[in-house]
């Protein structure tokens, strides 16, 4: 298949399960949380894939599995033609500089006892050993690329605002020139006026560094702004995946439809009819049978309770896991 040749990242039938232990010394395994339960997707070089879903949908777990922070139960992750699953820590090492992550909370993701110089030079020291003066030069250059001044190198994280800290976290991820960046809710902790600054910065850096990115967020408007393609997750599965315009203009999955309609808008004149879902996202250690969404779906029928719909292509590059997606074509 030509797509797999061109793709930088290819995930197939990935499962990440967390055992639940109980009893004396937590020895007895009483169940598993199926955080990611059979996800396949691929990213071509230079593409931004948005990953949306409610908390507990498995979007962060998926991102963390790609950088090797979560152990994979089954399935495979291929990066640039090499398989990442099953690698030991040592074997994974060469890939760490190529795949970097930006976390949500810039207050807890930066070590408060390290200066900006320490924070930014540490990844260089590990992944890309170079002379001290060269390191100084690259740290200063990176700081300017994220919109901070080179004279800030000796300051500590607490001397910066939330937006500036997120700039430092972005600089730390990009200083080793990664090819793939996992951005896990990078603007969710920021104020509205600062969000736009960071989104613009990510757009600029994406072009400048020729980045491929998985952008994880619960905010559908932010994802729409930055992504080329969007995948919607629910209880560890992809419910719908499509090009950005197709997904927002013509969602084919009832879950995506409900998510989009639930976003409050400031346009008070023409407001779309809101689909209110009943109940909450079920527990991922005991997902509903059949279609995982059937317990909250306004269109659910008998079949949905027993048979799980496959993620099937309904339009070019537009797939949905619902028995009735053709209704909304």
């Amino acid at each position: 298949m030509s797509i797999s040749e061109r793709s930088l990242l290819k995930i197939s039938d990935l499962k990440v399960h967390f055992p639940i232990h109980k009893g004396v010394f937590w020895q007895k395994e009483i169940g598993t949380v199926k955080a990611v339960d059979g996800v396949s997707l691929s990213l071509v070089r230079g593409e931004v894939l948005g990953l949306v879903g409610e908390s507990g949908s498995g979007k962060s777990t998926l991102g963390r599995a790609v950088i090797g922070l979560n152990r994979v139960r089954s399935g495979s992750i291929w990066f640039d033609g090499a398989e990442l699953t099953g690698l030991s820590r040592k074997q994974f090492q060469p890939f760490r500089s190529k795949i970097q992550i930006i976390f949500q909370d810039p207050y807890s993701s930066l070590n408060p006892r390290m200066t900006v110089y320490d924070i930014l030079s540490e990844p260089l020291r590990i992944h890309d050993p170079c002379g001290k003066s060269e390191r100084r030069r690259r740290v200063a250059e990176m700081l300017e690329q994220v919109g901070l001044a080179a004279r800030h190198v000796n300051r500590f994280p607490h001397e910066f605002s939330g937006g500036q800290r997120q700039r430092i976290a972005i600089a730390r991820a990009l200083i080793v020139r990664p090819e793939l960046v996992i951005a896990d809710e990078p603007v969710s902790a920021l104020d509205v006026s600062i969000q736009a600054q960071i989104l613009n910065l990510l757009q600029d850096l994406r072009r400048q560094f020729d980045l491929t990115m998985i952008f994880i967020s619960h905010d559908l408007a932010v994802v729409e702004h930055i992504s080329d393609r969007v995948a919607v997750m629910y209880l560890g599965k992809i419910m719908e995946i499509a090009g950005r315009d197709g997904l927002y203009a013509k969602p084919l999955n009832p879950y995506t439809q409900a998510l989009i309609s639930a976003v409050p808008t400031i346009d008070v004149t023409h407001r779309p009819k809101r689909i209110i879902l009943n109940g909450i996202i079920p527990s991922p250690n005991n997902p509903p049978s059949g279609c995982r969404f059937h317990t909250r779906c306004p269109h659910a029928e008998v079949r949905c309770r027993t048979e799980e719909p496959p993620l099937a292509e309904f339009a070019p590059a537009h797939s949905s896991a619902c028995w009735f997606s053709s209704r909304w074509m």
């Binding site: 600062i194 989104l199 702004h225």
Partner: protein, 340 residues
């Protein structure tokens, strides 16, 4: 603000509220002159970024600020519950009330939903006991009856199996569920005014939609008035009859949501709306507001937004603009020297 009910007294009338914090680093002017009126069944939305003074204004009304360092420098907040169930026929100024009388109003006439559902429930108490305590304290309801009311309210806020859940502890609930328990607790005494401080910020969009719908229902059903604080303009636009946009402790714009969001009069409101990623606006660079909100301990003498404002004139640096309105819209007030 709604106009047609001018003959009735406002339920809550706040005038020129100023709350300053006296700290080692100087005087932090967290709230610097806020005024508004809310009538029965009306929703006031307050939007602004962190540190703009939204939460402090409401904590001041509830008498929940620690004094010192906080100090209420000026202002009145006249609460007029003459139409309420247990009518205290004389209007009372919440800011001048002694702690005991205020405690009787709090939770009974005015209740509040806090932002953090994780930390606002007592982890050692079953949620049923926490809920019935409200009615037993404020309305002297018998235990059995209070418990029954609690079950019904949990059902209203969408907690499945309320009869079983009522004997559970807070840690057995997810974040969204705990927030609903908080909301149930705030609504149990069927308050005249509900102050909701970022009630849906920690929740997923689908749960957020459920909670907003519930607040809307209760507003019509029991004529509850709401002060809704949020940094998310969409949430506020959805429910509110009037909106205050706050920046650095001041209300920079105040009016009806339709007008404010479609034709903002203040450059901050305008910039905020433009910087939001929105459906169907495409990939262009977002017009971000440069810089960061000011330090409240050393505010500039004039308009606090001046350093970040693209319309700023020299007068803006020195003189804080008085409130004004446009002739065609007397109901909307804003503080800006410039016509945008």
């Amino acid at each position: 603000m709604t106009g047609n009910s001018t003959n009735t007294l406002p339920l809550l009338n706040v005038k020129d509220l100023r709350v300053h914090f006296h700290t080692r680093h100087g005087v932090v002017r967290a709230v610097d002159g806020i005024s508004f009126e809310i009538r029965r069944g009306e929703v006031l939305g307050i939007v602004g970024e962190s540190g703009s003074g939204k939460s402090v204004s409401c904590l001041a009304l509830m008498g929940l600020l620690s004094v010192p360092p906080a100090k209420i420098e000026s202002g009145t907040a006249v609460f007029n519950s003459s139409t309420g169930r247990t009518a205290t026929n004389t209007p009372i100024d919440l800011l001048k009330l002694d702690p005991d009388s205020l405690r009787r109003i709090r939770g009974n006439h005015i209740s509040m939903i806090f932002q953090e559902p994780m930390t606002s429930l007592n982890p050692y108490m079953k949620i049923g006991d926490q809920l019935s305590e409200v009615l037993m304290t404020h309305e002297k309801t018998a235990e059995e009856e209070a418990r029954e009311c609690a079950v019904q309210m949990l059902d209203r806020v969408g907690i499945p199996d309320p009869r079983i859940r009522i004997d559970r502890y807070p840690h057995e609930f997810s974040g969204g569920m705990r927030q609903r328990v908080m909301i149930a607790m705030a609504l149990l005494s069927r308050p005249d005014v509900l102050i909701a401080d970022e009630p849906t910020t920690a929740l997923d969009v689908t749960i957020q939609a459920q909670i907003l719908e519930l607040i809307r229902e209760l507003k019509t059903e029991i004529g509850m008035s709401v002060i809704l604080i949020s940094h998310a303009m969409g949430v506020v636009a959805d429910l509110s009859d009037q909106i205050i946009v706050m920046y650095a402790g001041r209300a920079v714009e105040h009016g009806a949501p339709g007008r404010i969001f479609q034709h903002p009069a203040h450059p901050y409101t305008k910039a905020l709306i433009e910087s939001m990623p929105r459906a169907g606006r495409g990939r262009d660079k977002l017009p971000a507001i440069s810089g960061a909100p000011p330090d409240l301990a050393s505010l500039p003498g004039g308009c606090a937004f001046e350093p970040r404002c693209s319309y700023a004139k020299s007068v803006c640096r020195d003189v804080f603009p008085d409130a004004r309105s446009r002739a065609e819209e007397p109901d909307r007030r804003f503080h800006c020297h410039v016509d945008i």
